[in-house]
């Protein structure tokens, strides 16, 4: 009896396990699931983790999808901007399955089949939206030093909006989480042109630096020279003033000399002679200049006797 009970319990456990496997399915945190009854999606989306009931195969089949944000990027491809520049761009998106039932309806089959299908659909949408948006903007909207003129964000938003709209209209069960430029480039031949332009810009900078260096230095030097000359001129003016004060002081002695102007003039002349006939001078004189007038009227030759 005891053994019978054990046997019954064990078989019951086996039956329960078997039943669980048949009637219950688990949804992980990262998953979303939908149940198809006879191949047709029915019922709700199971996007919360947990264990759920289903009828066993072949009545119902569970389709589980990764509900996490998937990364996807389109091919690096050439697009013409509004001002006819050739631009290569690649876009990355984060997308996820937001409505598993809808997704299964649009992209039937196993995820290994339906996911690549969905991605190529997405790529097509991206390509269309991208070339439309890029074609609406000139290159100056992509790169610009003026933050107001830069439309980088706006272009990304345009593309995102248009893809988002299409996803909604067609009800793919897919949601776009984010979108942005991953890579922007120029055709290979254009890079060479850009290099040439950059080179000439550098050349301009070099000569600018050389010239401004020279002219700045010259400016500083001539300003310094002018200031120095001004300082000296000022000093000379001061010197003249000082001398004038001296003259005025000296002039105070004039009344003394005025007592006898004849003597004053005579003394000045004596002084002048003393000063001028200093060293390194040659003097010519004749008999009329005192004291040599002593020689005058002296017989030059003794009279012959």
């Amino acid at each position: 009896m005891n053994r019978n009970t054990l046997t019954i319990v064990i078989s019951a456990v086996l039956v329960v396990i078997f039943a669980l496997l048949l009637f219950v399915f688990q949804v992980r945190q990262s998953e979303t699931a939908v149940v198809a009854t006879f191949g047709k999606p029915t019922g709700q989306n199971y996007d919360q983790p947990g264990a759920y009931f289903k009828w066993p195969w072949p009545i119902q089949k569970v389709y589980k999808y990764d509900q996490r944000v998937q990364n996807f990027e389109d091919k690096f491809s050439q697009t013409l901007t509004a001002d006819s520049s050739m631009l290569l761009t690649s876009i990355y998106v984060g997308w996820k399955i937001s409505d598993a039932r809808q997704f299964l309806q649009v992209f039937p089959g196993d995820p290994s089949v339906s996911l690549p299908n969905a991605q190529s659909k997405l790529e097509g949408m991206l390509r269309t939206a991208k070339s439309a948006a890029v074609g609406r903007h000139p290159l100056s909207d992509f790169v610009n030093a003026d933050p107001k003129a830069l439309k980088f964000d706006a272009i990304e938003n345009e593309i995102e909006q248009s893809v988002q709209d299409e996803l909604r209209t067609n009800n793919y069960g897919i949601k776009l989480e984010f979108l942005g430029f991953k890579k922007i480039g120029l055709p290979e031949s254009v890079t060479q042109t850009v290099f040439d332009r950059m080179k000439s810009e550098r050349q301009v900078l070099i000569s600018l630096a050389e010239n401004t260096g020279k002219s700045e230095a010259q400016k500083i030097q001539s300003a310094a020279d002018a200031e120095a000359a001004k300082t000296i001129a000022n000093a000379q003016a001061t010197a003249t003033r000082i001398r004038a004060v001296g003259e005025a002081e000296a002039a105070k002695t004039l009344p003394i000399f005025e007592q006898n102007p004849d003597l004053a003039v005579f003394l000045l002349r004596i002084d002048a002679i003393k000063q001028s006939l200093n060293q390194h001078s040659t003097l010519f004189f004749d008999e009329r200049i005192p004291p040599f007038d002593l020689f005058r009227n002296l017989p030059t030759n003794a009279p012959a006797h």
Partner: protein, 360 residues
Amino acid sequence: MSDEHEHHHHAHEAPEAVDSGSQALAEALRSSFAIVKVVMLLMVAAFFGSGFFQVGPSEKAVILRFGRPVGGGASVLLGPGLHWSFPYPIDEVVKIPITEQQTVQSTTGWYFTTPEQELSGEELPAGPSLNPAIDGYAITADRNIVHTQVTLHYHIDDPIAYIFNFASASNSIQNTLNNALLFTAAKFKVDDILTRDVDGFREAVQARVSDLTDQEHLGIVIDNCQVHSIPPRQLQDIFARVTDAQQNQSKQINVANTYRDTTLLAAAAQASAITTQAAAASTNYVIAVKADARVFADLLPRYEENPYLFAQQKVAETMAMALTNVQDKYFLPERADGKPREVRLQVNRELPQQKTGANP
């Protein structure tokens, strides 16, 4: 199991016919049933024992119970060590290879190198142009090309979001890095990126990355980011020459500033010399005039006594002194006809101040 059950049944149905053979059989069945019990116990032990798992030093683990993470917030992540969970299908262990700090690097801003070249530090010489299929770069606001690379260090703030909302969060982050480089370069000029405002560029890149990762709810916190930018290798020489020229420019200005300082100092010195000299000369002049005045006052009485004699005496004295000092003296006797004699002098220019005594 059902087989054993049947054998068991037989043993009970024929208790009268207990012969040695069936007894041996019952004995054998009993012992084999004991073995089965031990095996079942072992299996149960193995079932629960299989719940033990180890987490390595550079990974974390999350336990999912019926698909739902166990614990909340940071306690969801199990660190390195030995842990236990219920076996499948109740629990499931998800291991994540992450360390405390994560690092991710941008991919689309640098020219093409192979991993071997990066290791050896040797690079192929640059071609004349950049192949868009393999070479990466960013276009600057002034439509120059630069190579630029950002390395982001971050840590995971919200592991549930990071692990369960993104198929590959680090790839998403890498894409935001690439996007941030393009976006930021698009509004910076080449010289700002490379030299003038390297920090500003770095900050703008980080701000963009931070904006995007917040918008995308990646559940990370940025620790820091490093940005490295260079001009295209094809133009490295000419970029270096610009730097040289600019350094030379500031050197020239420095030289000019030095010149200004010395010139102004010299001028100030000269100016002070001029005024000092003037002051000294003026003082001396006044002293001299005053002395003259004193001499005059002294001589005046003697002159007034006999002006003629005084004058003669002074003239004679002066002439004597002058004649002593004068180097060359020429006496010109009067011509017999009484007319003035004509004397022609050839003055050598190089001798200073040869005086011509033109006499009346």
